[in-house]
């Protein structure tokens, strides 16, 4: 149990994929312009990471370590393609917006999945949990960044939620102001927001110790 809580803590906070390991920055910076895109991509990453970790750790029992790269590439790419098809079938307009970065989560998952699965001899439950927690760590930073950039940059929150939730989402939009601070929705805003987030993380972390 202790080991489990350690994995959870690592994924979400201490070894957070974004704030500490600086992984997955490309999709993170690109889709965090609004809450809805950030949340969707985060959830997909969470799914792909967990699912591929489980599959790879099962297959790993049967395969030699030399086959690890091809195995990993094929399994992760399959899950990415599957989510791509699912998104196209059920959430076409959302796919229209985040399609490119959906493919790019492949690179993330390869990086994130690698270390934990292949360097230590983890049982399946551990690596599944690890994938889930890493995904969760990615998700919360992504959602936080999406919310900050949308709120300050465009003055709204939860806009276009109907892309994800259907008709229920139409009225969820909260408008704070009609004008936003433009810089935050532009590319530089992404870098600066992330820089400030990492700095705040460092601040909290230093105080903890």
């Amino acid at each position: 149990m202790n080991r489990f809580s350690q994995i959870a803590c690592d994924g979400i906070w201490r070894q957070n994929p974004v704030l500490v390991q600086l992984l997955g920055l490309c999709p993170l910076l690109a889709v965090s312009t609004s809450f809805v895109t950030a949340f969707s991509l985060g959830v997909i990453t969470l799914f792909v990471l967990t699912a591929s970790n489980i599959v790879i750790s099962i297959i790993r029992l049967l395969l030699h370590d030399a086959m690890r790269m091809p195995t990993q590439i094929i399994v992760i790419a399959t899950f990415v393609t599957l989510s791509d098809i699912v998104l196209q079938a059920w959430y076409f307009e959302l796919h229209h917006r985040i399609g490119l970065f959906l493919a790019l989560i492949f690179t993330n998952c390869t990086l994130l999945g690698r270390a934990e699965i292949f360097t230590t001899r983890n049982p399946i439950a551990n690596s599944a949990l690890d994938g889930f927690m890493m995904g969760l760590g990615f998700l919360w930073v992504l959602v936080l960044m999406g919310s900050i950039r949308e709120t300050l940059g465009s003055g709204t929150l939860f806009s276009n939620m109907h892309l994800l939730l259907g008709p229920i989402g139409e009225n969820l939009e909260i408008t704070f102001s009609t004008k936003g601070f433009l810089l935050l929705v532009l590319p530089p805003g992404a870098f600066i927001t992330l820089g400030l987030l990492i700095a705040s993380k460092n601040y909290l972390f230093n105080n903890q110790e």
Partner: protein, 202 residues
């Protein structure tokens, strides 16, 4: 676009436009956010930045040529476009390995220079990114090669600027919480702001 370029035939004109756009206007790092992790990793010393530069140029150009060929001669005719992501990933990964092998046997010295960067590149978002954007944006083989090359040049440009800035920052008094990744991100943000100034150039 410069005046004299406009007199050239349309195809050359188009290629030059693509080159300039990918280098400045849609710069891979500062505007499209591709390949940031290797940027942070390789920007400690100017030597490693140069090595990374050559390796990236090579791989990105190769990847866009490969992606165009695969898309227009295999996937589209066979109506297999839904397999695009997985096919591109596998093909690019194996191509990079294959060329690494060729260079290792034919040009050992060049290989020794590049070898440390190959793993950094195969896990680089920019490689897959260039392949996917390329399919969406360009329409001929030449254009797609130019697109990949331009993206790589733009990438190298930012890499060199970034390395130089980081060299300067080593001697400055940065607040403790900002040290490391945080200040790099802010720097990248300001660089990106500067690159936004190129918008409208084409």
């Amino acid at each position: 676009m410069p005046h004299q370029v406009c007199k050239l035939p349309r195809r050359v004109n188009e290629a030059v436009a693509i080159l300039l756009t990918t280098i400045f206007v849609n710069n891979f790092v500062t505007i499209q956010f591709l390949g940031i992790r290797p940027l942070l990793g390789a920007s400690q010393k100017i030597d490693s930045a140069t090595g990374m530069m050559f390796a990236t140029t090579f791989v990105l150009t190769l990847a866009s040529a490969a992606s165009f060929t695969v898309e227009s001669y295999i996937l589209r005719p066979l109506d297999l476009q839904y397999l695009r992501i997985i096919v591109l990933i596998i093909i690019i990964a194996s191509l990079v390995q294959f060329f690494e092998l060729i260079i290792r046997t034919t040009h050992p010295r060049l290989h020794a220079m590049l070898v440390t960067f190959v793993p950094l590149i195969t896990t680089n978002c920019a490689v897959l990114g260039v392949a996917l954007i390329n399919i969406r944006e360009t329409n001929s083989f030449i254009n797609s090669v130019v697109f990949g090359f331009g993206a790589a040049i733009g990438y190298s440009l930012v890499l060199i600027i970034f390395t130089a800035i980081q060299g300067q920052q080593r001697n400055s008094a940065i607040p403790r919480v900002f040290r490391g990744a945080a200040i790099s991100m802010i720097t990248a943000g300001l660089l990106s702001l500067a690159f936004m100034g190129f918008t409208g150039i084409s």
